[in-house]
């Protein structure tokens, strides 16, 4: 089989295009990244995550600044959420975190309300002020229960 520069060039282009497509799917769409430890990693404990998932966004004023890395239990059986934020963010140390819902039945995400302190959060710090997720079913249950009680009285 003799060399054929034109054919070889086209094959090279094809392989590059295919690899480019795989890279785009992996990096951009799939969110695969080689440097995991680049961001600002902070922790927060919640009484109730209400179906928060890993890779859920973390937002400040509605702008995405990071994502949830993992969710586990701490030693007091509260949900401990690890999130990584953009590394150049300066977030006051008395910032509070709350789990909110996009729309009535949408996905859960974490919203940060900035505090006013001069000290900033460092990687590995803990956000102490947290507000848990509101679970709609439980609210409805409470409402029905309280109206029942009022009727019986």
């Amino acid at each position: 089989m003799s060399r054929s520069p034109a054919r070889d060039f086209v094959v090279g282009l094809f392989v590059l295009a295919g690899l480019g497509a795989i890279a785009y799917l992996s990096m951009n769409v799939g969110g695969f990244s080689f440097r995991r430890a680049g961001g600002l990693v902070v922790y927060a404990s919640f009484d109730q995550t209400g179906g928060l998932k890993a890779r859920a966004p973390v937002v400040i004023s509605g702008v995405k600044v990071g994502q949830v890395d993992s969710i586990g239990l701490d030693k007091n059986f509260r949900a401990r959420v690890e999130m990584s934020l953009d590394h150049n963010l300066q977030i006051p140390a008395d910032t509070s975190a709350s789990i909110v819902t996009a729309g009535l039945l949408g996905d859960r995400y974490i919203s940060l309300q900035l505090g006013g302190e001069d000290k900033y959060l460092k990687s590995g710090d803990e956000i102490t002020m947290t507000e848990s997720a509101v679970i709609l079913e439980r609210l409805i249950g409470k409402l029905i229960h309280s109206t029942d009680v009022q009727k019986s009285e």
Partner: protein, 258 residues
């Protein structure tokens, strides 16, 4: 009644014999790949035949499937007021399922049948016997480059199919139907996970490449040396290849949850 049972038994035995032969055939292809000289030149020209020449059909079909998904997904989602999730719907269905499967089906029809016909014609015109006369192993010279080219080409084609499909979904959803572009992209990005979805999709495409490559070359290599034999081998490549792709797809999805 007894002949019916006999037929069934004969069919099963034949199926198992085919399974054993194709496994031994695959082993001899792998063994040929490990012996010198390497056939890089032929491999590259097979990449051209199987990959580059399939590009147009893959890209056009990817775009069309993405556009249909965008339209259907939008029409369904808009009833629930959830058209913001269009990117997730289009992306997940393309990456997890439609990309690898449709690419494998198209490649079976486009490249697999051509491979079988080529090798089958060489069998029918005794070209492979001629190679054996010169003590050149036909598996080494003819079959092995084709099989490995199919294995390498399939993930690349599948990834291109998916990218074009995502583009088609964007075209219909965002440009035509007026979903916000940023919302489309961000719902796509937050729904798709690297390990669960993208890596699994590439794994599927790789398995399908092995499957289609082996079936196409095996059918050509073992076809009856007549023109009727070549035609029936080509037909059987398309039928067996497509069916086994769909069956394997179910089992990969069920076992690994891709």
């Amino acid at each position: 009644m007894i002949t019916l049972v006999q037929d069934l038994g004969a069919g099963v035995l034949q199926f198992i014999a085919h399974l054993g032969r194709i496994t031994r055939f695959g082993a001899s292809v792998v063994r040929a790949a490990l012996t010198r000289p390497n056939r890089v030149r032929i491999f590259v020209s097979e990449l051209f035949n199987l990959g580059v020449l399939s590009l147009v059909i893959i890209c056009v079909c990817g775009l069309a499937v993405g556009m249909v998904l965008g339209l259907q997904g939008y029409n369904t989602l808009v009833r629930f007021g959830a058209e913001q999730s269009l990117g997730a719907v289009v992306g997940l269905s393309l990456i997890r399922e439609l990309g690898p499967v449709l690419t494998a089906l198209l490649a079976t029809g486009r490249a697999g049948s051509a491979t079988t016909a080529e090798i089958g014609t060489m069998v029918a015109t005794e070209q492979l016997d001629g190679l054996r006369m010169m003590s050149i192993n036909p598996i080494h010279l003819v079959v092995m480059p084709k099989t490995f080219a199919m294995v390498c080409v399939m993930p690349l084609l599948s990834a291109l199919f998916i990218v074009f499909g995502l583009g088609g979904g964007y075209l219909v959803g965002v440009v035509l139907m007026g979903v916000d572009g940023g919302v489309y992209i961000s719902s796509l990005q937050s729904a798709v996970d690297y390990y669960d979805d993208v890596a699994g999709s590439l794994l599927k495409a790789l398995v399908f490449g092995v499957l289609v490559g082996l079936i196409a070359t095996y059918r050509g290599y073992t076809c009856a040396p007549t023109s009727a034999g070549v035609s029936s081998a080509t037909t059987s490549t398309v039928v067996v290849g497509s069916v086994s792709v769909l069956i394997f797809d179910y089992f990969i999805t069920a076992l690994w949850g891709v």
